[in-house]
Structures are given as structure tokens and as C-alpha cells.
């Protein structure tokens, strides 16, 4: 896999390879053969790069790696490019709440024009002897809820619609 490392606001894509003897850190700028060995003190390591050995302290956080080296502390942001991309998901498809099966509306908890939060229940339906709460798929404004309590609806009926998001 590849990582994006952020140092001082600059992003560099990086991956590791191994030449059979030692690991090689690859960046678009080149390859750095190197070695990192623990020293025994908490977080203590010796980093060997290009024949130079550097003592450092290191801690790996959830999104960043922290390094204390030569009296200075550095934070190196770590991004999985894939996760970043997955985050861009979503879109227009989420604006409509479609009936997963035919049923009857039990209650309506919002009306057109209401500002709703993601996860907020919009209406409760009953089908197949089960009550299901249908929730807002994102923050937004309710555009339409065409059914009232007691109404029955068919499969794939639009039960609620959010107003399109403005960019």
C-alpha cells in the first residue's frame, strides 16, 4: 500500500519496498534504504539512513506519527489515500427515502421546510408486522413527505425527499 505523509503541510506519497536486506522508503523523489531499531527506552529507536545513525523517540498515533529528534518534536500526518477517497462518497442518491417494501405510514415526524439532522427520524412505517423508523440520510431541509399517518404505500414509493444540497 501507499501512504501520504504530511510534514509541515506538505504531502508526499510514500511506500516501502525491501531489497532482501533492508527496507527502502520510496518517495517520488527517490529511494532511501534505511533501518529502524528499538533501543529499549520507551519509544526510543535508532534510525539508520545513508550510513548515519540517529537516536530518536517515536510514537504512533491514530492519524500521525510523532518524532522527537535532536531536541525537536515533529508531527508527521499519516493518510491512507484510499480512505481519503472513500470519504468523497455519497451524493444525490441519498436525497430520497424510498419504501423498502409496501406498508402503512404509522406517523410522520417532520414536515416540508423542516431543517433536519442526519439520523433524525422523519417517519415511522409499518410493514410485515414490523415498525421501522426512516431517518434523514444527511443534514438538510425536508422538501416533501407525500404521505400522512394511516396512508398505505407501495414498494419503492418515495416516502420523503430532502431538498437538494446547495454548493
Amino acid at each position: 500500500m501507499r501512504r501520504i505523509f504530511q510534514i509541515d503541510g506538505e504531502e508526499t506519497e510514500c511506500w516501502l519496498s525491501h531489497d532482501g536486506n533492508e527496507l527502502i522508503v520510496n518517495t517520488p523523489d527517490g529511494a532511501i534504504p534505511c533501518q529502524l531499531d528499538p533501543t529499549g527506552t520507551p519509544g526510543g529507536h535508532v534510525l539508520r539512513v545513508r550510513g548515519r545513525a540517529q537516536e530518536l523517540r517515536l510514537a504512533v498515533g491514530p492519524d500521525a506519527t510523532f518524532v522527537h529528534l535532536n531536541g525537536q518534536t515533529y508531527a508527521i500526518g499519516r493518510v491512507d489515500p484510499a480512505e481519503r477517497l472513500a470519504g468523497n462518497d455519497g451524493g444525490a442518491a441519498d436525497d430520497r427515502i424510498v419504501a423498502p417494501m409496501p406498508g402503512v405510514v404509522v406517523s410522520v415526524n417532520a414536515k416540508p421546510g423542516d431543517q433536519v439532522k442526519e439520523g433524525q427520524p422523519l417517519l415511522v412505517i409499518e410493514s410485515m408486522k414490523l415498525e421501522t423508523s426512516l431517518i434523514a440520510p444527511r443534514d438538510g431541509v425536508v422538501a416533501e413527505i407525500p404521505f400522512a399517518a394511516g396512508d398505505s404505500f407501495g414498494l419503492k414509493a418515495t416516502l420523503a425527499q430532502l431538498a437538494p444540497e446547495e454548493d
Binding site: M1, R2, W15, L16, S17, H18, G20, I24, N26, D80, P81, A82, L85, A86, N88, D89, G90, G91, A93
Partner: protein, 535 residues
């Protein structure tokens, strides 16, 4: 194993002349490969950008583990077809590493005719899936194809090894418990729809990927229904309504990271164990091969010098070194894998054929994969040899070779003529991979003999009609035939027609073999068994 003592003098004029000639050829070869891989008309590049799609090479980069090798097959497929307008036959295939696993990759190249399937495209995909089946390699399909190239539909569709074979092979892979994942990064229309749907997993890229049996224009023509691409077969519809698609990816990058994640879920099956040793680079520089291959094909050279620049430590245990000396047999390691090597040092005689047959039986018994290094002009002809039963001995060699259960690998290093091609595991004989060096030739016989034979027939016919031919008239008959034959036997013709898995820079032979052998060990090795040897 003892190191081969090279007799090559790298300062000798011959060596230098050979080296210069080979370097020239390789320059040309690498330029061809580069063009086939990367050079496209600007309008095609612009079209991809407009469609918000990445090129196939960028897609491979996203898919493969960084810093790992990729053994690409048949880069120059179709290079002598369709006026050279379908580089790589519009598809990239090869063996690469994804999440530490060896996988076979089939990726449409939408920068060539929208990734349309030409006859050679189909041949290349079917070959890749054969490789996957033989070696039990999981397959990753990167689908982005306009569909079959209709003007040539007869070369794409009906026959046993054409379009249907792609899907048949997918079914066989699945049946054999070999996983497949498809990334739909473009349209998969009609038959193309079955590539992702026959895969165990598929991922559709939102916006660009779509799967349907008939696209919107066809639907309109057939039923009058007007429907857009996304509603008809887009990522959202297929992943949430039809269940045809498994995963919806927001972007190309997302799709390939999903694919990598899927691959990382797959069970790792233990590989077949053969004898191995620790790696050792060849003692002699592989680049010296350039000076060893004579610039004139008719010049004989010692295949041991070639072996010394391919095998681990240049070490070679030669079998029967004093007997049947035109056939060099012995054991060596390539990337640590123990292999049995058969290499030609001249024409095959009775003794060399028997030696080869015996050696192959030894290797089968020991589960030692076989590597064939071809430089073969054929089996010896003539009364004496027929009397000694050269055809019978040749048949024994074929029986042993064709009946081998161990994986076989062939490199056509120079000449591959006549039945020698068969004995030395030519294309018809199920080598797991078969590569060819760019200066090598392949044919029933050498171009000169073939041309002369055909010219002689014509000349004799004219003589019977009482015509006396001048030197010029003979040349006028022979030269065009010779020219055609010379072209037909060239490696470029072979690789254009997919008679091989690609041309190789000789210095890359070691890695190509290493990758091939490693891949082959994903499949089990059967117990040795043979047909009937004509004794």
C-alpha cells in the same frame, strides 16, 4: 554445483561487434515496447481525460503493490496487424503482485479504440486466462471496453478460442476455486457484461462504470425505451437494486483500494514445494549476453555461456556432459528455484534426443520444473540418421516432453525451426510461459531454405516449360519470396500473432523465468505418467 567457466573474452572484436548489433536491435525493441505502452494520439488521451478516466497504466499502478515486479505478456501483440493501430491489442495482461499475492491481470486499454475487442485482443485475454487456469492464479479484470470490434466480428466471436472462451475460462476458474475480482471502470456492454458478472467480486466506479447487455442506443432501437446510462446500468443501480454489482466506488482510486482490500481477504493457498536454494545473482553479467548472441544467426555459440548469465551463481550441474553433446542438459537454480535445463548446442541427433528424453524423465521424477532454451534448427536428416531411427528417437523426446507433469518454461533464444520447436516445448506444448528474444526466428525452416525451396519449385516448373532463366530472372522470383519469409519468421511476427507471451530483452530472461516459475507453483504437480515410448 560448479560455476561455469566462461570462455568469453569481452574485449574480443567479435564480442564487441555482436554487442553493438544486439544493442541496436534492443534499442529498436524497447522503442517499440514504449510506443505500444505509452504513446497514443492526443485525441485518445484527451478523450479519457474528458471521461474522467485514468489510463490503464495508471490503473495498474494503483492496483499493484508498489515496488514489486510486473511480468507483462505480449506487449507487442498485434504490432503487425491492423496497420499497427491497435497497440498491445488494446489490452494489458500480465502477472503482478497485489497485497503480497501473485495475480493474473487483464486490463482493457481504453486509450486504444475505446478498449474494443479485436481478434488479437480476444486471443490475448484467452491466453491470460489460460495462464491463470494452468497456474491457479487469481484474476483481476479491469473492464473498460467498447465491446467487440464489429467489422471483424468473425474473428472475435464464433470460434472455440474466441470471445466465448473468455467467459468459459472465467467459469472454469470459478469452478476450480480460483477467485476473480472485476473493476468496472468503463462500459461493459453485451458479452463484456459477463466479465464482471462472472467474477466473484466486482466493483463499479460511479459515473464511469456501467454494465448492461444492451446500451441505451440498442435499447432504444430494440424497444423504444429511452433510458440513460446510469439508470440502465450505473453503479448505484447495480449495487443497490439489481445486485449485479457488489461495491460502488466513488473514484478510480477508491475502486483500486477496494480491490486491494478484497484481494487481501483471499485465502492464501500454500504453494507447491520444490527444491530451492538461497538466491544468488549470476556470477557473469547478464548484459554480456548481448555480445554472446552472434549477429549472424548461422554462427554457432555455446549455450552454456548463455546459462552462465541466467542461472544463480552461474552454477550448473551438467548431466551426461560427454554424450549427445548438441543437447546440453543439467540442473541449476533460477531465483533459488531448482530447475532442469535443456539447451541446444546444435542440431538434434539420435543420442541428443535420447539424452533429452531421459533427462526430462529424471526431472519429472524429482518434480523439477523444466526450462527449455531454444536454438534449434531441427532433427538431423539423411539416410544414416533415418536408419538409426531419428524419427523414432525424436518421438521419444516428444513423448517425454509432452508427457511431462512438471511446469515447463520456454525461451526461444535464437532459432526455432521445424520439429525442433516441438521437441523443445514450442507454443503447442503448454509451456507455462514462452518468451522470445527479439532477434530470434521461428518457422518450419529458416527463411533462406524456405525461400529457396519455393523459388526452386517455380524455377523447375519454368524450366520444364523450356524457359532458360538468367540470374536476374531467378533473383526476381526468389527475392520477393525471401523477403516475405524473412519477415514471417521474425520474432515481431510471432509476438504480433501471440505465438509467444512476449519478446524479452535477453538480460530480463532471469527475472521473467523467476516470475514464471514462482507463479507456476500455485498449481499442484501431478504424479509422473506417460504415454507409450517407441523404443
Amino acid at each position: 554445483m560448479r560455476r561455469i567457466e566462461s570462455q568469453i573474452d569481452t574485449n574480443a572484436p567479435d564480442f564487441k561487434a555482436n554487442h553493438a548489433a544486439m544493442s541496436e536491435r534492443l534499442k529498436e525493441f524497447h522503442a517499440h515496447q514504449h510506443a505500444a505502452r505509452f504513446e497514443r494520439p492526443q485525441r485518445d488521451i484527451d478523450r479519457l481525460a474528458r471521461q474522467n478516466k485514468l489510463g490503464v497504466r495508471e490503473r495498474l499502478k494503483l492496483l499493484l503493490d508498489p515496488g514489486t515486479p510486473f511480468l507483462e505478456f505480449s506487449t507487442l501483440a498485434a504490432c503487425r496487424e491492423y496497420d499497427g493501430t491497435v497497440p498491445g491489442a488494446a489490452v494489458v495482461t500480465g502477472i503482478g503482485i497485489v497485497q503480497g499475492r501473485e495475480v493474473a491481470i487483464h486490463a482493457n486499454d481504453a486509450s486504444v479504440k475505446g478498449g474494443a475487442w479485436y481478434p488479437h485482443t480476444v486471443k490475448k485475454i484467452v491466453r491470460l486466462l489460460d495462464v491463470a487456469l494452468e497456474n491457479r492464479l487469481p484474476v483481476i479484470h479491469i473492464c473498460d471496453s467498447a465491446g467487440g470490434f464489429l467489422p471483424l466480428q468473425h474473428g472475435v466471436f464464433p470460434d472455440r478460442y474466441l470471445g466465448g472462451r473468455v467467459f468459459r475460462n472465467q467459469v472454469k476458474l470459478s469452478q476450480a476455486n480460483i477467485p476473480q475480482v472485476a473493476i468496472v471502470g468503463g462500459h461493459c456492454t453485451a458479452g463484456g457484461a459477463y466479465v464482471p458478472t462472472l467474477s466473484d467480486y466486482n466493483i463499479i466506479i460511479e459515473g464511469t462504470g456501467a454494465i448492461f447487455l444492451g446500451g441505451p442506443p440498442l435499447v432504444k432501437a430494440a424497444t423504444g425505451e429511452e433510458v440513460g446510462v446510469q439508470e440502465l446500468g450505473g453503479a448505484v443501480m447495480h449495487t443497490s437494486v439489481s445486485g449485479t454489482g457488489d461495491y460502488r466506488a466513488a473514484t478510480e482510486q477508491h475502486a483500486f483500494s477496494l480491490a486491494r482490500e478484497i484481494v487481501s481477504q483471499w485465502k492464501r493457498t500454500p504453494k507447491t514445494i520444490i527444491e530451492t536454494a538461497s538466491f544468488e545473482e549470476p556470477y557473469y553479467d547478464p548484459k554480456e549476453l548481448y555480445g554472446i548472441i552472434p549477429k549472424d544467426r548461422k554462427t554457432q555459440f555455446d549455450m552454456r555461456e548463455v546459462l552462465a548469465r541466467i542461472v544463480d551463481g552461474s552454477r550448473f550441474h551438467e548431466y551426461q556432459p560427454e554424450y549427445g553433446t548438441t543437447m546440453v542438459c543439467g540442473f541449476a537454480h533460477i531465483w533459488g528455484y531448482k530447475v532442469g535445463i535443456l539447451a541446444n548446442n546444435g542440431v538434434l541427433f539420435n543420442d541428443s534426443s535420447l539424452k533429452a528424453a531421459h533427462f526430462m524423465q529424471l526431472c519429472n521424477q524429482n518434480r523439477t520444473p523444466l526450462v527449455f532454451l531454444q536454438n534449434i534448427t531441427g532433427y538431423m536428416v539423411g539416410r544414416e540418421y533415418e536408419e538409426r531411427g531419428i524419427a523414432k528417437d525424436g518421438a521419444k523426446m516428444l513423448m517425454a516432453q509432452g508427457g511431462s507433469v512438471v511446469p515447463k518454461f520456454t525461451v526461444i533464444a535464437n532459432a526455432s525451426y521445424g520439429a525442433g520447436n516441438y521437441g523443445m516445448c514450442g507454443r503447442a506444448w503448454d509451456a507455462r510461459t514462452l518468451f522470445m528474444w527479439p532477434q530470434a526466428e521461428i518457422g518450419v525452416m529458416g527463411a533462406d531454405q524456405a525461400a529457396n525451396t519455393m523459388a526452386d519449385v517455380k524455377i523447375r516448373q519454368l524450366e520444364r516449360e523450356g524457359k532458360e532463366l538468367s540470374e536476374e530472372e531467378i533473383a526476381a522470383i526468389r527475392d520477393p519470396v525471401l523477403e516475405k519469409f524473412r519477415r514471417d519468421v521474425e520474432a515481431y511476427t510471432s509476438t504480433s500473432e501471440l505465438w509467444d507471451d512476449g519478446l524479452l530483452d535477453p538480460a530480463d530472461t532471469r527475472n521473467a523465468l523467476g516470475m514464471s516459475i514462482s507463479a507456476s507453483l500455485n498449481a499442484p504437480i501431478d504424479d509422473p505418467h506417460y504415454g507409450i515410448f517407441r523404443l
